[in-house]
Every structure is written in C-alpha cells, then in structure tokens.
C-alpha cells in the first residue's frame, strides 16, 4: 500500500522520537529558539531601533542571567521530575505544588521552633512521601481517578498550608537550609566535577559497546557514541564555564542533577522502573505478568511527594522565606506540569524521561525570564506559556496518533 518511499514530516517526527536521544531534540530545539530570540534577536533589534545605544547588550545570555535562570528553574525542575514519574504511569498529580508548599511551611515552622535544619529536612521529606503515598492509596486501592484525588489534594493542601502559616509567610534563616542555595562549589571543583561526569559517561558508553560486541548484539556506530559523548561534554563544560564566570556552580544545581540522575536511573535501568513503563504502556499486560500494579502506583505517588518535599526545601532555601504565593497559591503547579509535558513526557503514560523534564523546566524558566527582561507584562507571560504548552502537547498527540494506528 505504501508504494512511494516518501516519509512525511509526522513520520519523521515519530521515528525520531522512538530513538533514545531523539526524544531530546524537540525540547532542545524549543530551548534554542527561545534563547536565540531573547538572547540574540531582541538585543540586535533594540540596537538597530535605537541609534543612541553605544553597543549591543546581551543581557539574556549574560552569565549572570544564566545563573539566575538555573536557580529560578531549579524548583520547577524538581517538581517536574517527580510529576514525570506519575505521568509515566498515565496518572497526573495536581497536588505537587501544594504538597511542596505544605512541606516548606512545615520546614519553616520546625526550624523556627528550634529543630536542627537537617532533622527538619528529613522530617519534611518523610511527610511529603506520606502525603503522596496517601493519595496513591486512594488512586490505586479505592479506584478514584488520579485527577480527582490530586485535585482534592490541591485544595486540601492549600488550606493546610494556610493553617500552618496563618500570616502567609515566614522567613527561613537556618544556615543549613539556606546553605543549599548559598553554598557555591569552588571553580576548580566545578571543572573537576564536569570532567568526572564526562569521563564516567564515556566509560559506561564504551564499556557497554564492548559488551555488546562480545555478545554479538547489534552495535551502534562508534561515531554515534563519540558524538553523544562530545555533545554531553560540550554541554557540561559550557554550563560550568558560564556559571563559573559569574559566581560558580551552586550546590543546589549539583544536588538537583544528582537527584535527577538517581530518579532517571531508577526509572530506566531497574525492574521497578521497567514496571512503571509497563503499567503506563499496558496495565493489563503488566498485571498478567505478575506485577503488583497497585503497589507500583502508590510508590510512584510517594516519589512525587518526596520530590515535592525536596522542591519545597529548595524553594525555602532559595527565597529565604516561605510564602503562600510562591508555592501553593502561585503558578508553580502549572509550570512544573508544563515543564514535564514540554519535555516530551506523554500525558497518556508510558513515554518520557526525567531528563527531559529538566530541559522542559529550563524552557519554562527561560520564557518567564526572557519576557521579564524584555518588559513584557504578566498577561503576556501567561499567554506565551499557554502557547508553548499547547505546542508541546500537540507534538505529543501527533507523534502518538501515528504510532498507535495499525
């Protein structure tokens, strides 16, 4: 029936997204487009239009702004990583930001009452997990759709946060909590870390390639492997160089990357992660091969709760305060779900990656940051975010409809 070997654009898109690294491409393109627009096009446009300007000022791409961008996106990214895990199951969590708010508020109150910072952080992480797991139990064992359970959670936790913080905000000055955002790695340590990451990445890739060859499996071309290593290396070193030229690599970013790497490893390389993908792809199939679908659901919601708590801690650390609007009442929830989806994680379950969520968070963060810099109003920001989100979901829907038609 297909006599012509012509591949349509949508087919190309589909094929690309099937590959391991191809899934990064759309979100990377989006990021590149946004950065080019705000970083290069707008300044040049301003310079051309304003004859009094001395020289072009690339504010957006200045190291200082990139540093702020990373820090701004960190909380969104933390939540987005957690939300990605439930999205993989085909569920959704609308309560993540409210959970983060409750956890941050609790943290503030605990620290104020004299609990040491690290104990307070551990308590708050435990509370977040319990909040998530409780919602998971309602979804898995009682059978309420996750949308409804977490919508109830969103409302309930917003109220809970107001109960904990009757005044609406609270300063957090505990040095341990503040340390996450304040501590900077020395320049040399940043470089060493980047080099170590690249070496480890290359080592694992090469070793895997050798094993594959030994066992007589299909091997990828070595140019692909080294291309990936080079790309990853360039990304790492460019990031470290940029951050170092303003201040240096903040501990917060290192922690975020470590946590993401851990969650990424669990979801892609363990039987547990495989079962998450299996449930998202075909629940019936997962059940028949003996997976405990209900327990997997609950655990995934516990992971979101934990990530939300960590997001709350990061937020409290960065802002130096806990306020209702910064978490539960603000745009954090929609931004983090948007980040996960823009990263290419399917709302229908079974496809996505936590690394894409980080990139998605950067897209959302860059958009907000860029529009702020160019003096756009809050209304413009909202509308732009809406368009980007819609585009991301459209890409998901189009590439999905192609792959399920038989």
């Amino acid at each position: 029936m297909q006599s012509e070997p012509k591949i349509s654009f949508i087919d190309r898109l589909r094929i690309m997204r099937e590959t391991r690294f191809g899934a990064f491409v759309p979100v990377l393109l989006a990021l590149a487009a946004i950065w080019t627009y705000f970083g290069v096009a707008l300044p040049v446009w301003d310079y051309m239009g304003d004859p009094t300007a001395e020289n072009i000022r690339f504010i957006f791409l200045s190291p200082r702004n990139i540093y702020n961008l990373f820090m701004q996106s960190a909380v969104i990214a933390t939540l987005a990583v957690g939300i990605t895990v439930v999205l993989l199951l085909g569920d959704i969590d609308l309560s993540a930001a409210a959970t983060a708010g409750v956890c941050a508020a609790l943290l503030g109150v605990l620290v104020l009452s004299g609990v040491p910072g690290w104990t307070a952080c551990l308590i708050v992480m435990g509370v977040g997990m319990i909040m998530g797991a409780a919602q998971g139990v309602l979804v898995a064992y009682v059978g309420i759709p996750s949308f409804v359970v977490t919508l109830a959670g969103l409302l309930g936790f917003q109220g809970l946060m107001q109960k904990i913080l009757p005044t609406g905000n609270l300063n957090v000055s505990d040095p341990f909590v503040r340390g996450f955002a304040r501590v900077l790695l020395p320049d040399a340590a940043g470089w060493a870390l980047a080099a170590a990451c690249v070496l480890v990445f290359a080592f694992f890739n090469v070793r895997k390639q050798n094993y594959r060859r030994e066992k007589g499996l299909e091997v990828e071309k070595s140019i692909v492997i080294w291309g990936q290593v080079a790309f990853f290396g360039a990304l790492m070193f460019a990031t470290v160089a940029t951050l170092n030229s303003y201040r240096s690599v903040p501990l917060l970013i290192v922690l975020l990357m470590t946590i993401t790497a851990l969650v990424g490893w669990v979801t892609t390389s363990t039987p547990y992660g495989r079962s998450i993908f299996a449930v998202g792809g075909n629940q019936e199939s997962a059940r028949r091969v003996g997976m405990n679908v209900k327990r997997i659901r609950v655990s995934a919601f516990a992971i979101v709760g934990l990530m939300a708590a960590i997001g709350g801690i990061f937020g409290a650390s960065r802002f130096g305060s806990v306020s209702y609007t910064a978490f539960a009442g603000g745009s954090l929830l929609l931004e983090s779900i948007g980040a996960a989806v823009i990263g290419g994680t399917s709302l229908f379950g079974g496809r996505g990656s936590v690394w894409n969520a980080i990139l998605g968070a950067l897209v959302i963060g860059s958009l907000g940051n860029g529009l702020d810099l160019s003096g756009a109003s809050a209304a413009d920001k909202l509308m732009f975010s809406g368009v980007i989100l819609l585009l991301a979901v459209a890409i998901d829907a189009v590439s999905r409809s192609g792959s399920t038609s038989r």
């Binding site: 066992k215 993908f277 019936e284 997962a286």
Partner: protein
C-alpha cells in the same frame, strides 16, 4: 462420512496434556458437559466449534483462569490439578490471549522479559526491584527466542512493539509464552485480525512450535488455516465433544458439518 474416519483412538500419539470429564458451570449455565481433550508434544491440535460451543471456556479452564467444576487433568499421564493461572504456568501451560497484552511503548526485548527481568549480579544489598537491569542479557535472550521461532521479518529486538505489524506482534506474544518454559501453548484466534502475508508468518511460527516439540492448541474459525497447520482437529458442540479427526483424513466440509450439526450418533452424547 464413514464412521471409521471419526475417532483417532489408539493411533494417536501419547498425550502430553490430557483432560477428561471436564464440567464447567457458570451459575445455571452448563458451559462444558464432560469434555475430553488431549494434546501431544510435537503436534498442533486444533480446537474448533461454533460460537458458544465452549472453546474459550475449555481454553480458560486449561489455563487455570476458570477452575473446572469437575474433571481430571493429566500431564504425561500423571494426575495434576490446575486451579489458578499460576498452577497452569508452573506446569508449563501458557496461553496467548487474543489481545496479546504487549506493552507498545517498550521494545521487543523488554516485552519478552517483562515481569522476569534479568538483573546484574553483585548488587545484593539492593532490593530485587532496584538492582540494575541486565539489558544485554535481556537482548541475548530475546534474540534467541526470536531466532528459535524464526521470525524473519523482525530486524531488531530493540524495536518498539508499537511500530510492529500485527503478525510480528503475534509472534512476539507467542515467543513470550514459549520463553517462560512453556510446553503447552494455547493460541486463541491468532490470525483473526491479520492479512494474508501476516497470517502466513504466524502459521510459520506455529509450525516452528510443533517442530520444537511443543504441544500447541490452536483455536480458530478459519478452516484454511486449520487445515494447513493442524495435525488433529477436535470439534466441540454445545459444550460437549463431537469427535477428533486426523487432519489428513478429513475435509473442511466434514468439519463444518460436525461443528454445526454434530454427528448423528454422537448427537445424543453431545447434548
């Protein structure tokens, strides 16, 4: 139709799985009324019958999905009991349901080892669920399973199942069933939704199963497929046996008549 053709009787190979006097009641409905059925290793036994004849019920009883109300199971002539799907799979009885139950978002290798993923050794301090997957082992196993069934059109075990054809999916579902140490493989309408070329592919896989000494139970409505692939044909009607024929000694017409009208002298015992 001459009576001598009808029962296979003593000339049949020794059965691997044999059930006798299977009754199954669903409340007031008496779905199976004392069915005898057997399948030997290295043969394809077709199970045919009109809608409501009890094919699916018999299959589910054999797979342990519905425990039988009454009746005996023998594996290599030793009495066994099958009351749950786990009992059945412990005895090596595997079923490929019509809906296949594959995860389209995962690749072929992942689907073949789903629920029993190999993990790397040496991570004993982690719980089983969090040990690193041995992807390579998974692929090697998948490759072996696919090669054993000679699924020629499948290029790579790293391909996502969502991008495969219906025939390839069926083959992978069969490979998954066989891979789990299965000796008896039940196929429910494996070619129902497939085109000509893909049907061919699945029939080739079924023949491969026979050649590798599996006992295959093949349920279908398609006479052409049945006559191509089966060694014996067991006809059910109204929840009872009509008879079992050797495929080489019968004709589609005879089978269709047996399915719809039964045999004159068997009619009494069938109802």
């Amino acid at each position: 139709m001459s009576l001598s053709k009808k029962p296979v009787g003593r000339q049949a190979p020794p059965p691997h799985l044999r059930v006798s006097g299977i009754h199954k009641r669903f409340g007031g409905v008496h779905a199976l009324r004392g069915v005898d059925f057997e399948v030997a290793r290295g043969e394809v036994m077709a199970l045919v019958g009109d809608n409501g004849a009890g094919k699916s019920t018999l299959m589910k009883v054999l797979a342990g999905a519905h425990p039988a109300s009454d009746g005996q199971f023998f594996l290599d002539e030793k009495p066994v009991s099958v009351n749950s799907p786990n009992d059945a799979s412990d005895l090596g009885i595997q079923i490929v349901y019509q809906d296949l139950a594959l995860c389209e978002n995962l690749d072929v290798a992942a689907n073949l080892s789903l629920g029993d993923e190999p993990v790397k050794s040496g991570w004993k301090f982690l719980p089983k669920l969090l040990r690193p997957l041995d992807d390579l082992e998974m692929e090697v196993k998948a490759r072996e399973a696919i090669d054993k069934l000679q699924v020629k059109t499948l290029q790579s075990v790293q391909a996502k199942v969502g991008g495969l054809s219906g025939g390839q999916r069926q083959a992978i579902a069969i490979a998954r069933a066989v891979g789990a140490e299965g000796t008896v493989v039940m196929l429910d309408e494996p070619t129902a939704a497939l085109g000509v070329a893909q049907t061919r592919q699945v029939l080739d896989v079924v023949k491969r199963l026979r050649d590798t000494n599996h006992a295959v139970i093949y349920i279908s409505h398609n006479m052409r497929d049945i006559f191509e692939v089966s060694d014996r044909i067991c006809v059910l009607r109204h929840g009872g046996n009509v008879a079992t024929w050797k495929t080489a000694e019968t004709t589609p017409d005879e089978i269709v008549i047996a399915m719809t009208r039964g045999l004159d002298d068997e009619a009494t015992n069938a109802i």
